[in-house]
Structures are given as structure tokens and as C-alpha cells.
Amino acid sequence: MATSISARVANPAATTTSDAIVEVRDIGKRYGDIEALRGINLEFERGKLTTLLGPSGCGKTTLLKIIAGLVPATSGDIRVNGKVVTGPGPERAFVFQDFALMPWATVLRNVAFGLELKGIGLAERNRTARHYIAEVGLSGFEEKYPHELSGGMRQRVGIARAFAVNADVLLLDEPFSAVDEQNRRKFQEDLLMLVEKERKTFLFVTHSIEEAVYVSDRIVLLSPRPGRVSQIIEPSIDRSAAPDVIRRDKGYLDVVEEIWQGLRQYAE
């Protein structure tokens, strides 16, 4: 059983891939005297799910927000589809840790909001929104308000909104950290299904090692103060196996253990 899973530790210097959709070139970020990120060089392959993993304070969320164009970098640049980005763009969609839903708007309007901002007509954007609401398993909740939903359901709304704008790259900032444990597992499984189905590039930030190993094609380990790339791991998990089988697999557990060994020096 363990043969289906193996981890390949890639050399951080040799990260060039043939089909990079997002390129991070020598990114550094300072907040006053504090250096949050230093010399980050990464390439993210099209159609893959890459996780940025690290202890708190390693700048993983900052890096994701720089890629999103929400936070300016102090040095270096970001290219998406070969073009340098200076701000947010339609080819990237962001999923927020605290969901960032508008409490005064229904699920339908929240999901359609990205399209509304693009100036797409009501009928068309509602049709698209309904499709993605069904996709994330929220059919029947279109007219509900966010506070009528559980945390997990709210984040499904956030993900549906990101899918609805049809971006190439989805940036997820600790999307499951405000979701309780049972729903979180279900959510991870559903996410993998959506990754399979939607064929998009996912950049995923988390501080959960298990979550990272379970969902990722590639894991970028960041070390803190200042944030640097310390290791890149490719779990290469056979996704066709049942979730419970994967979670009990020796190879899966070995990768989790290996990452923990790499990170434990940063734990207090």
C-alpha cells in the first residue's frame, strides 16, 4: 500500500519548471525594520496545487498577498502568464481566511459579486453563480444570508465566488483555519475533487502539515524571520485512493513526519 506514495525532495535552486504560470522573482518584503520575506524565488506550475507551509511569522500569507497584488513587494517582481503584475488582476482570484463575505448580501449575490464588479448582466452572472453554488454543494442556500450558514458553508461561498470569475490561479489563504475539524476534512476532500474538475492552478497557504501533505502536489516550506524558502517537497500522492486509505498510508505519514522534523526547530 505504501508504494503508491513517495516524496521527492527537490533542490530549492532547481525549481524551474517547463510550464510556470506564476513566477516569483527575488521577492523581498520589509515592514519598517522588520524583514518579512527575503530573496524568494519560486515558480508555480500550471494546473497544480502548491502549498506554502511554515510556522506563523514566516510570511506565507504576505507572500500570497504579494502574488495577489494586494500587498506591494519591497523588491523583486511577480509574473503571471509571463506578465509582471502590479496589482490585482482578473487572472487571479483570492479566497480569504475570514471568508470576506458581505453580510448584507445573499449567498447568490456574494458568489456573483466578482462578476458584478466586472459589469456582467444580472441574468448571466446569476446563472454562473448558481452553477458554482451547486458545484461547492450549496444548492438550496442561494437566498440565505452568510450569518445563517456555518463556518464551513461560508467558506464554500468564498470558494464559489473565486471559481465564478473563472480565474486561472486561485489563491487560498488558510481557507479552512476557521472551519471545525470534521468539516475541515470533508472540505479537503471536496477541494481535491474541485481541483480535479476545474483544472486550475491553486496556491494554498496553511499551517497544518497534514492538510498540506493531503492536498498538495508540491509543498514549499518557508522558514521564519525573515521568510525564506527552506525546502520543497513533492508528496506525489495517488489521489485515486480513498481518503481514509491515504490518511493511514505509511508514505503519507512519513512525509508528514519529515516535514515536522524540518519545522520543529522553529517551534517554541
Partner: protein, 250 residues
């Protein structure tokens, strides 16, 4: 409310107190407290008089003008203070000083500035109501979650769109709460202003009744005013609740 297993309507407590008042009034302890029934019948007489009707018209006009100014200036100023540090620095100190200042003391000065007339009353209403409206609008704008604004930016909203579609809606519950408290303060303002000016509106009537010891009309007018203030606040509260329903997730 339930008493001995029987459901009792909300206003029952009020009836009990009215009854106590009636009894005390009939005992003729003090001329200041006439029986409730006499006050109520005086109230019906009062509403039919010309002097009451014109006084009400003047009062309403001053109140509405003052409130319109307070909302029209207070809400935009509060929003500007919440959005721009410089505006906050310029006005912050003054707003915080005036919100807790005993404004009644200023009315005599206003009389010198604006004369013994409606203008003074309008300015009094404005000064009573505006500061809390400013502070609440400011608080509403400042508590808009950063992630909601980032959400707007990441989906390509312009600064103006973020303002009109996210910030304004997000701040609406606080803005309305400020307006509700402002309305109540405005009622105080209109009465205090009129009493101090004492030759227009309800101020004139109060002055007249208390000088001639017409306690029945005096109380009738007071109760009418209280009821009007409570109704006004209840109306805004009702509207607020509908808004808060949407804002429940925050």
C-alpha cells in the same frame, strides 16, 4: 409577560402607573399632580386648540430642519473622518468635546448670535444631534473589515465602487444607530431651545401653562412630547433591526 399563567399585554405596566397617578391625583395631595383622567381630557382639548396646532407646526419645522442639517453634515463628516486621517485630526478633538459638553449652556450665546427666533432653535437641534451622528458614522466606517476591502480590490473594484458597494453598506448599522440617538437628542434640543427662547412653539406653551399653573395642560403637553419622542425612536429602531439582521454575521 405572564402573570398567574395569564398572558398580559406589554402596556399593562403603563396602565398600572396611570392608575396610581389617578389615585394620587384624586387624593388632592399637591396641585402639581392633577388626576390622570383630567390630564387626558385636557390633552384632547389641547390638540384641538389653534395655539397647540401652530406650536406643533413650528416645533416640527425647527426639528426637521435641524435634524436634516445634522444628518446631512454629520454622516458625510463622520465618514470622511473615518476614511481620512487628516480630517480626523482636524475635527476629532472638537467632535469629542462637543459630544459630551453641556450644550444647554450654549443656547443663550446662540440667542445672541441668531436672535430670539426659530433659527436659534434649529441651531440648537443641530448642535444636540450632530456630534453623535458624526462619531457613529466614523466608527462604522473604521470597523469595516480589512478583508472585505481587500476582497473588493482583488475582484477588481475601483476605489469608488469599494466605497459605494462595500464601505457604505458595512457602516450602515452604525450610521443608523447614530441617527437614532441623534433624533432623541434632537428632541431634547428642540424643547430646550424653545423653552430658553420661550416665545415660540412648545416653549411658549410650556411657559404659559406653568406660569398660569395650568398643570393639566402642562402634563398633557409633556406626555404628548414623550410619546412622540418614543415613537420616533421606535420607528428608527424598527428600521435598524432589519439592517442588523443582515449584519448579524459580523
Amino acid at each position: 409577560m405572564k402573570l398567574f399563567g395569564i398572558k398580559i399585554p406589554m402596556m399593562t405596566a403603563l396602565l398600572v402607573w396611570a392608575l396610581v397617578w389617578e389615585i394620587v391625583g384624586r387624593m388632592d395631595v399637591i396641585f402639581l399632580v392633577p388626576p390622570m383622567s383630567a390630564i387626558i381630557s385636557a390633552g384632547f382639548d389641547l390638540v384641538a386648540t389653534n395655539s397647540w396646532q401652530s406650536a406643533t407646526l413650528v416645533t416640527l419645522r425647527s426639528f426637521l430642519t435641524g435634524m436634516a442639517m445634522a444628518i446631512g453634515i454629520g454622516v458625510p463628516l463622520g465618514i470622511a473622518m473615518g476614511r481620512f486621517k487628516i480630517v480626523d485630526n482636524i475635527f476629532g478633538l472638537w467632535v469629542n468635546m462637543f459630544v459630551s459638553a453641556p450644550l444647554s449652556a450654549l443656547v443663550p450665546v446662540l440667542m445672541i448670535l441668531f436672535g430670539l427666533g426659530e433659527t436659534t432653535v434649529v441651531v440648537t437641534v443641530f448642535l444636540f444631534a450632530v456630534w453623535i451622528i458624526v462619531l457613529d458614522a466614523r466608527a462604522g466606517v473604521m470597523q469595516v473589515p480589512t478583508s472585505l476591502i481587500e476582497m473588493g480590490r482583488s475582484y477588481g473594484a475601483s476605489r469608488l465602487t469599494i466605497f459605494t458597494k462595500i464601505i457604505l453598506f458595512s457602516a450602515l448599522p452604525e450610521i443608523l444607530a447614530g441617527i437614532r440617538i441623534g433624533l432623541i437628542r434632537g428632541v431634547k434640543g428642540v424643547v430646550i431651545g424653545q423653552i430658553l427662547v420661550s416665545i415660540i412653539g412648545y416653549g411658549e406653551l410650556f411657559e404659559l401653562y406653568s406660569r398660569s399653573f395650568d398643570m393639566e395642560r402642562f402634563w398633557a403637553l409633556t406626555i404628548l412630547l414623550f410619546a412622540a419622542a418614543m415613537l420616533l425612536s421606535a420607528a428608527v429602531e424598527h428600521f435598524e433591526k432589519r439592517i442588523e439582521y443582515y449584519a448579524g454575521a459580523r
